[in-house]
Symmetry: C2
């Protein structure tokens, strides 16, 4: 096993009615609250009212920042920072999914930074402190509610940047699956795909002695594959929503991280792509991931075989590792396609005219891919195959 | 799924050489350190020197409390509290296994409590604050390094009490598997048994929708069953030590706790037993647990069947659930006995003369056992069977 440091001080408050617990958690955290949220769905599903009620009971002064975009933008971060300074905000409350939470994190760090926030976003190391953050989760997908990472788009430079800092762990995360029963079908599918990709990016690695991490990952993947179709048939089923929510948080809260860092190629290319095209992150992943797998397969047939057998229960007899591995990839494609996830760039009207630009963005930090090393040609080949 | 709150702010620093990291973690935590340890093995295996070297580099003033017993005693806690007051201790460093860590936790809370410490130990609710605690782990077993629980013996009243308080989470846990390569065979076996019991106490529960928790538990149990015999053959193998250490911490750090509380009967009876007889905790568990299983089997054949099939790969065809379940229990007994764990109270020279007293202690907090309800007669029946 490798060396690792696991530290995650987020208070994960899971289950129906957990908003009640927010009162105790938020009481001591700050008087002037910036409430960050997205397109307004929280006003229709009751979350907004629940949150406001708690904040009123605590006699907090609330300033609102609505309208956070699906791919969170620097412009919104800047607006939030201005509000923080003007209203002397001392607690940021994110009510939403990953974009809302990531925006809140960037604001929390930016509000206490004297220079320009883009400097800060371009370099996590500059973050020395941040305002306290609380989360009320309304979409099970990114896991941002219980980690110290964020992803932000600079819509001017078309860069999409991700980083981690110990200062942006939320203080608490209210994770009530009942708050997600009205999530539309497409977003639900994206939650499943995103969660699976977070697990798989780490699952595909060359390290040895990873039996525990592998086993935990396979348990989560099998569970997602089992419940996703049931959830789409019964979107209001609390237990299915609960399992997806539990899995999406667990995929990126450290449970699966034992010093093995995984590959993350599909994320790097997808961030480059959605930085330019503003397509849904998980939509990009469901298009790109299988093509990455097909390229990596020949270098690591044993690993893909294990994936096929343990996750999709592919029958082994009479087949080569390569064949079994390919069957696993095919089953994944089939599974995502049955859920209705996109499989081609054309599904988003993307043609090859931008490929050079996407490849440039993807290569911005140099070569990458710890499991299957990537260079510019390989990025282009994946994009081409995904047309 | 149930509701739960998961909060674990311990910084888990895992892997070879992680003592180096202690310098950064301990630097800001206090000038006057109480170093708590056990029978002196840390002076033979290099741990003591490594720890003292870091503390000297940090210019800490070190007071020592050696000699913590395997079943940690109130007397030692009292001694530690006196030292804390006299030496104005502001950081407690536990270098050892569960007993040392639990003693350090009790001292940390007791040092800031004005009344008698036994009052505090009898009632976790009285703990309002505690001195900061750091851990250097030298024995993989109890998981105390990454949780907020403790167990203390009152050698006068023969009570063994366990509780949890949010104030006694260690700040950091240095978990270097290389520090455990010299752990003797018997303690290594106890580490395996203790860890397995922590997982199984939670695994046997009546709750539904626990697929993820079940799956994680089975991964850990299978891994322990696979590596334990290998580890006993190669006690200095770093990777086997690492896997045991990882599993023992994970069994009780929240990873397996998703709102389902498990049974814990064997622990209750074992605490009653070792409160009176001062036998090794895991020795008591390896004797009692299978007898508890055999009694609980008929009420929950489906659960024991799953255990048998998933953990020990028991063949199902042509057998009833009861038979499969019993085979799982037999396999567990066989496995522990091959490792050399005790299976009868007689192994510790215990006869039935104390059974009434043990049953009284076990029933102290009333009836228990969430999975298979216990009363005095059932406690006595388990003890009798274990003779």
């Amino acid at each position: 096993m490798h060396r690792f440091i696991r530290y995650n001080p987020v208070k994960w408050i899971f289950g129906e009615g957990s908003i009640k617990r927010m009162e105790a958690e938020a009481a001591s955290l700050g008087k002037n609250v910036l409430l960050v949220y997205g397109g307004g769905s929280i006003k229709n599903n009751g979350v907004y009212n629940d949150v406001i009620e708690v904040l009123q009971r605590l006699e907090k002064k609330v300033t609102e920042l609505p309208g956070v975009e699906p791919n969170p933008r620097l412009l919104t971060v800047r607006k939030g920072i201005e509000l923080c300074r003007r209203e002397k905000i001392d607690l940021i409350l994110a009510a939403g999914g990953g974009s809302v939470i990531d925006t809140a994190k960037a604001i929390a760090a930016g509000a206490l930074y004297e220079g320009d926030v883009w400097e800060l976003i371009a370099q996590a190391g500059k973050v020395k402190e941040a305002l306290p953050i609380g989360v009320v989760l309304t979409l099970a997908a990114t896991g941002s509610e219980m980690n110290n990472g964020l992803v932000i788009n600079n819509e001017e430079t078309k860069e999409k940047i991700d980083w981690h800092s110990p200062h942006i762990f939320p203080k608490f995360a209210i994770c009530d699956p009942a708050y997600t029963v009205s999530v539309p079908r497409e977003q639900t599918v994206f939650g499943v795909v995103d969660t699976m990709c977070h697990i798989m990016e780490k699952y595909f690695r060359t390290s040895e002695n990873t039996e525990l991490q592998d086993g935990f990952s396979e348990v989560l993947l099998r569970e997602l594959i089992q419940i996703a179709p049931l959830l789409l048939r019964e979107p209001e089923n609390y237990n299915y929503r609960a399992k997806l929510m539990y899995a999406s948080t667990s995929a990126l809260n450290g449970t699966l991280d034992l010093g093995y860092r995984g590959d993350w190629t599909s994320h790097v290319i997808e961030h480059a792509l959605s930085g330019i095209y503003d397509i849904p992150h998980a939509g990009g992943l469901s298009i790109l991931f299988p093509h990455w797998m097909e390229r990596a397969l020949a270098s690591h047939p044993d690993r893909f075989k294990r994936f096929a057998v343990e996750v999709f229960k592919v029958e082994e007899s009479g087949k080569s590792d390569l064949q079994i591995g390919q069957e696993g990839i095919d089953r994944l494609k089939e599974f995502w396609s049955e859920l209705g996830a996109p499989s081609r760039l054309a599904d988003y009207g993307i043609d090859n005219s931008c490929f050079e630009e996407v490849a440039d963005q993807a290569m911005r930090r140099g070569e990458f891919g710890r499991f299957y090393p990537m260079n510019r040609d390989r990025v282009l080949s994946i994009l081409q195959a995904a047309l």
